[in-house]
Symmetry: C2
């Protein structure tokens, strides 16, 4: 169900022939209203793909009827011709739905630096529009997969009004919003009645606490987009906080699915920084650890290498005293007061989930950043596959 779980949405996923594999590659998600609220968060990379440039402007208007997505090509660094392809895609969706191109969000994922086959893509849009159904969410989720091994879908249901309201979502990617080049595309839907400003605030709050704190490989994508459509079909009015309260666990669920399917990974690592002087300090330290190749390679080797954690902490500007830092792996405090703590042998890193806690002993703030280990398979996938 995913994006079609809330009322007022139809979706489809079809095969347009953009992927050499012949797998589904065009998805369409349509908001049938009665409201047409849209909000989006896109990559902060300054070198962006054509669909990102387009969709940012659409979202700024606050009104959107549909999201059209393709895999099989990122349409990135493709110049004016690439932008014209994005524009033509939105125009075609607008014609088919009876709305303006400016109400259509466009997302693309796949290889960078190659033109999409525009005729095939447009024929795929026609086919997707013809295939739209109220339970097409799963097909849409399948059609946006690239190196994903499985589609990612989630739903959150809330009480309220006659039948309550809900949010649904689908995601693709082995990467993440802020960082990672393996494009992350996320479409969220809700049947709540919400204003455009509140929808935007709720989406930003939810992504900041979830997708923004995933850091698979420290690389920032050119195409990452998270878009929210609100249909208002439940008749239940919500504010920004209430909507964020449903979107945040929804995004956390999708984020966990992304992390669990990250390219070549063997471990999901949660790095929590405790007792920081500020949340910004906690985040900076957690991100620094999450980006240490040496730390990530050690986890792959099942080595609770706290020295590499300390070294990563030491590169930050956060407030801390090296002589009192504690570091634990899966509950074993292997580093105590900046020196040797409990024996490394007590740490078991054979399971996929790894919890690393860094105690800065400076204040009361905390933050968690999630990442993966650095594996042979990561190197293999990313040396053999052009993105």
């Amino acid at each position: 169900m995913s994006v079609t779980a809330p009322r007022g949405f139809r979706a489809a996923g079809v095969t347009a022939g953009l992927k050499p594999s012949g797998r589904p590659d065009v998805a369409l998600v349509v908001n049938d209203g009665p409201t047409d609220v849209v909000a989006a968060v896109v990559t902060s990379n300054r070198c962006r793909a054509a669909p990102v440039l387009w969709s940012e402007v659409v979202a700024r208007g606050g009104r959107g009827r549909a999201v059209v997505l393709n895999s099989g090509g990122a349409n990135c660094y493709t110049g004016p011709e690439g932008f014209a392809t994005t524009h033509a895609t939105a125009e075609r969706v607008g014609e088919l739905l009876g709305c303006g191109a400016g109400e259509v969000v466009v997302c693309s994922t796949g290889l960078i630096g190659e033109q999409l086959d525009r005729p095939r893509l447009l024929a795929g849009v026609d086919a997707a529009a013809a295939a739209l159904t109220a339970d097409g969410g799963h097909d849409a989720a399948v059609a946006v997969m690239t190196t994903d091994t499985r589609p990612k879908e989630a739903v959150q249901v809330r009480a309220g009004g006659t039948d309550g309201w809900s949010c649904g979502g689908m995601a693709k990617g082995a990467g993440m919003l802020a960082p990672a080049l393996a494009t992350m595309l996320v479409v969220l839907t809700t049947d709540a009645v919400v204003g455009a400003a509140d929808a935007d605030a709720a989406l930003r709050a939810a992504t900041a606490a979830t997708f923004d704190r995933l850091d698979s490989d420290g690389c920032q994508s050119t195409n990452d987009t998270v878009v929210l459509l609100a249909s208002g079909a439940s008749g239940v009015g919500v504010g920004a906080d209430e909507l964020a309260g449903a979107l945040t666990p929804l995004c956390a669920d999708l984020a966990a699915q992304l992390l669990g399917d990250a390219e070549g990974s063997e471990h999901d690592i949660a790095i929590t920084v405790e007792r920081a002087a500020s949340e910004a300090d906690a985040l900076e330290v957690a991100r620094s650890v999450a980006r240490s190749n040496l730390f990530k390679a050690a986890v792959f080797g099942r080595d609770p290498n706290w020295g590499r954690v300390m070294a990563a902490v030491g590169t930050t500007t956060a407030a801390f005293d090296p002589a009192v830092l504690d570091v634990s792996f899966n509950g074993v405090q292997v580093c105590r007061d900046g020196g040797v703590g409990e024996p490394r042998d007590l740490v078991d890193l054979s399971a996929r989930a790894v919890e690393v806690v860094v105690d800065l002993k400076e204040g009361r703030a905390r933050a968690t950043v999630r990442t993966n280990d650095l594996t042979h398979a990561y190197v293999h996938e990313n040396s053999a596959y052009s993105t």
Copy 2:
């Protein structure tokens, strides 16, 4: 010859039994004067090893008689006991040479978070002092190796005075000064007559242009130290600029040797950013590319993936317009004006040396950062070997 090439120096390398392999592990480099000038640059990591804390203070005084180095243990995150080991090592060298402990620089490399065997280390110091010779530079270079596959040595000779003057150096490490956890230790010697302030300025200038622009894996070591001893034995007086003029090519030579021996690497990559608005911009962009795991994995796969270069450029704050960027690999301009340029197939990445040029078209500044590719062997070495 290396550190014993300039007049006024003796050195030795011996086996103290700190390494399980039974290979040489203690080195001593002694300045016999007539001058005893010392300067040092150490890691900017805030979590530093005991010998770094000690040696920084020694170098601040500007007077140094010797450098004692050990492999087989980094003496890092070892608390007060570890610092006492460093102090005892300097004391022993001072007794043997008839100088104060405060004139002895100490460097350590090897595993983090383990105490050194102090009796063995001190016995090794005794043996090294007894073995000092005027041609012991090579033995010293061998004794500081860890994962290095070969010792690194270099010499620069300059005209002047009766027989001119010279600089010598030795290095160990698969990493680098600013970044990389695989400790880089470098000892440089000169028989020029130079003041302490000039020696310090020359050393900083030379390292900023060489070791600071190596970035093997983006990780910053806890032990990195570059130390310069000046004996004055040539009788030739030099200023900071003249000394930097000899030290810079010497350091560049050693840096190239470090890069060529980096853990598990198959390519040496030079990333040059041209026509930047400022040198700081050029450096920021080059470093960002050098730290992109996706770019580095692509080079390992012999894929001239300019999209990943663009994406790394896009994460910086440098002045540039994405629509006019050019990127070339080994002279082939695969990206022109932010889009597809010459065919990728024209690029041959089979040789070890890879040149990537990013043209920002903003100004006249340029900078080069050197790095390695991300390989299966890198992951293997760093998952199997605890640092």
